[in-house]
């Protein structure tokens, strides 16, 4: 479903990704781990289409289409979802309104009927229950004054609502205590399906105790330098990133 070949990306003239290759199949969960500054967030932003990330070489094919030629909203309609590390606040924009507008924009983009207010209310209650987001947060401004955990739950709620084919989780575990982490992970797990793939970007192994990956990759210096199964994550947890980097330098 997603095929990244030899991807080179510059940010402000500096090369951050240097020939990254990654294949994600339908229904698979891939984890990308790596030290700070290795290019993890850059990868998620490039896939979502953020401005300021210049692709100098390589290609990204998503469901047979050239992802890099699409606008960010077109990627969302096609089924790419990015749960952000730092969800932004939209003061004065009612969360419920935002969710409805987003859902209807995506449905429209997918050639589906827009949902009326009643059907939407039913759906949103159901999905909010899934991520245990208190209903009062639906009535507040988007993310404004939300705690770290509430913001991340709001992200997962949006994911549940927009039903993406590829969900990218960018450091979703950062800033969460263990209880919040569990709630978020349960939300994600409930969305796992043979039709939906996940790319879980994280610095720590901790999140992977809850969201079990099929594949684990180590990203360093803008390339994937090692891939394996979930045991690789445990090894990293135990030994840190140093040994892999040393092995790579020696090779």
């Amino acid at each position: 479903m997603l095929s990244i070949k030899n991807l080179h990306v510059n940010v402000e003239g500096k090369e951050i990704l240097r020939g990254l290759n990654l294949e994600i199949g339908k229904g698979e969960v891939h984890a990308i781990m790596g030290p700070n500054g290795s290019g993890k967030s850059t990868l998620s932003y490039v896939l979502a289409g953020r401005d300021g990330y210049e692709v100098t070489e390589g290609e990204v094919i998503f469901e047979g289409k050239n992802l890099l030629e699409m606008e960010p909203e077109e990627r969302a309609w096609a089924g790419v979802f990015l749960a952000m590390q730092y969800p932004v606040e939209l003061p004065g924009v009612n969360n419920m309104t935002f969710l409805r507008e987003a859902l209807n924009a995506v449905r429209k983009g997918r050639g589906e009927e827009e949902l009326d207010a009643v059907a939407f209310m039913k759906l949103i209650r159901e999905k909010a229950e899934l991520v245990k987001l208190p209903e009062k947060l639906l009535k507040r401004s988007v993310n404004a004054g939300f705690s770290g955990g509430e913001k991340k739950r709001n992200e997962i709620l949006q994911m549940a609502l927009l039903e993406p084919k590829l969900a990218i989780l960018d450091e979703t575990d950062s800033g969460l205590d263990i209880d919040a982490l569990r709630v978020v992970a349960e939300g994600v797990n409930s969305l796992r399906s043979p039709e939906r793939s996940f790319l879980v970007i994280t610095h720590y192994q901790r999140l992977l105790d809850y969201i079990e990956p099929d594949h684990v990759h180590v990203l360093a210096h803008g390339q994937i330098i090692r891939s394996g199964d979930k045991s690789l994550a445990l090894e990293l947890e135990e030994k840190g990133y140093g040994w892999i980097l040393e092995e790579e330098a020696a090779a």
């Binding site: 990627r75 932004v88 004065g92």
Partner: protein, 481 residues
């Protein structure tokens, strides 16, 4: 319709009210002297005292100079090149029933979304339609009369209710107040008069729709609203003008008087022609609006949504004389293209326990310049008076500007004044976030802007809040990019 015209319309898309009505009119040649004023007064068959009032104002105006303190760049205005009176010929004289109104005019208001036929009108809204210099129709008069509410053009009020007019006209904004108010006092041609008697809650929203049509014409309307003891009225003003290459002057005066326990809610959705993409043409909107909370526990609330005009210069103000009286000002001002706005409010606290709230939201896009200018004055007798001011600016793009000029004068040690101000940009983070969730960029901007304006829109009567939101979306279309 020729192809050229279609093309022109397409190029100018974005200002939907920019058409011209082909109607024969009676227009005074440009120029201003005492004869002009005598002509206007004679045309309206005014009593002698009204003419005297005008002439006194005119003579005083000759001694005044245009103000230059605002944060605005204004090309010199040639007051002799303006026509001070224009009326559609078939408008006839004095009060008229809707059957006698020129169908062209009714069609004009229909096109603007203001149906004058009562059965088609917005439920519960009575309209006074002012076209160039005259009022062409006032709806629901009979129904209002049953409640004892007077709602008519000010020309009629001069004839029908001279005592009320004499008592209140110029009592809040004297002709000596400022250059433009003084000019208005000399040449005002029409406007709306409202009187709500003691204890009456006006049964519907009142509204005036101002339309400038004729070229090279200024519009100088005068609005006078009086809410007697324990009365309540909600009033809305809307305005548009055709697209023309020249700058047209709109210098209005609005006076509100609230007696004991009365409340007046005054809302404006201003959509005068803002000029083209190069800053050519557009309305100069130089308006003096002031409300007087004359009685104890009276309440005056101004809400304005300013999206139009090449230049906006206005400060709807409250004089809080009565003890425990309340003044409010909620404003959204948008400047885009080459528009300039210098707007805000003045709150004069004279009475004890007087309270005022100011919420100002300025939005600047493209080359727009937006200034908030506000005065809060706590007089020596204003025991325990309170003011809270919140003044937020939102910038879209990097060529526009936002400026804040708050003036605070406190002469009573028990008074409290709070001022909060923020300036923000629609951030790239916010736009990306919205687009990642599937929203198009324009929709994302409009959602963020509407969120920014929410506190003010909440103050508008419902139909007009919808209108204001739509207008804001049209106005900001293509502002990003």
């Amino acid at each position: 319709m020729s192809t050229q015209r279609e093309l022109d319309d397409l190029v100018k898309a974005g200002y939907e009210a920019g058409f011209v009505t082909e109607v024969e009119s009676d227009t005074l040649p440009p120029g201003l002297n005492e004869d002009t004023i005598r002509f206007i007064s004679a045309k309206k068959k005014e009593p002698e005292w009204m003419l005297e009032y005008r002439l006194k104002a005119y003579r005083h105006w000759l001694t005044m100079e245009e103000p230059d303190w605002a944060h605005l760049k204004i090309d010199p205005i040639d007051y002799q090149a303006i026509s001070y009176y224009s009326a559609p010929k078939k408008a006839g004289e004095g009060p008229k029933s809707l059957d006698e109104v020129d169908p062209e005019l009714i069609e004009t208001y229909n096109k603007l979304g203001i149906p004058l036929e009562e059965q088609k009108a917005l439920a519960g809204v009575a309209v006074d339609a002012v076209f160039d210099s005259v009022s062409v129709a006032t709806t629901f008069r009979e129904e209002l009369a049953k409640a004892g509410v007077i709602f008519c053009s000010i020309s009629e009020a001069v004839h029908e209710y001279p005592e009320l007019v004499k008592k209140y006209l110029g009592s809040v904004v004297p002709h000596t107040d400022n250059f433009f108010a003084c000019l208005n006092a000399a040449v005002f041609s029409d406007g709306t008069f409202v009187y709500v008697p003691e204890g009456v809650r006006c049964p519907m929203e009142l509204s005036t729709y101002f339309r400038i049509n004729e070229a090279k014409t200024g519009q100088f309307e005068r609005t006078l609203i009086i809410a007697d003891k324990c009365a309540y009225v909600s009033y809305l003003e809307g305005c548009t003008a055709p697209m023309r290459d020249e700058n047209q002057l709109h210098a209005a005066v609005v006076e509100l008087i609230a007696l004991e326990d009365a409340k007046i809610k005054y809302s404006t959705v201003q959509n005068w022609y803002p000029g083209d993409e190069n800053g050519v043409g557009g309305i100069y909107n130089f308006v003096t609006k002031r409300g007087d909370c004359r009685g104890d526990r009276s309440h005056i609330s101004w809400t304005q949504v300013e999206t139009g005009s090449a230049i906006t210069w206005k400060y709807p103000s409250c004089i809080l004389q009565g003890d425990d009286s309340v003044g409010e000002f909620y404003s959204v001002a948008v400047t885009r293209g080459w528009q300039q706005a210098d707007t805000g409010t003045k709150m004069y606290h004279f009475g004890r326990n007087t309270r005022s709230t100011i919420v100002s939201k300025g939005i600047s896009a493209a080359h727009g310049q937006n200034a908030y200018r506000g005065l809060v004055r706590m007089g020596p007798k204003a025991e325990n008076a309170r003011n809270h001011t919140q003044c937020d600016s939102l910038l879209i793009g990097d060529q526009c500007g936002a400026h804040t000029f708050p003036y605070i004068e406190v002469r009573n040690p028990t008074a409290k004044v709070e001022h909060e101000a923020t300036t923000s940009k629609i951030s790239e983070d916010q736009l990306f976030y919205c687009r990642q969730r599937g929203l198009k960029e324009e929709d994302a901007v409009s959602m963020i802007v509407n969120g920014f304006c929410k506190e003010v829109f909440n103050e508008l009567p419902m139909e007009f809040a919808v209108e204001a939101r739509k207008l804001l979306n049209i106005t900001l279309e293509g502002a990003v990019g």
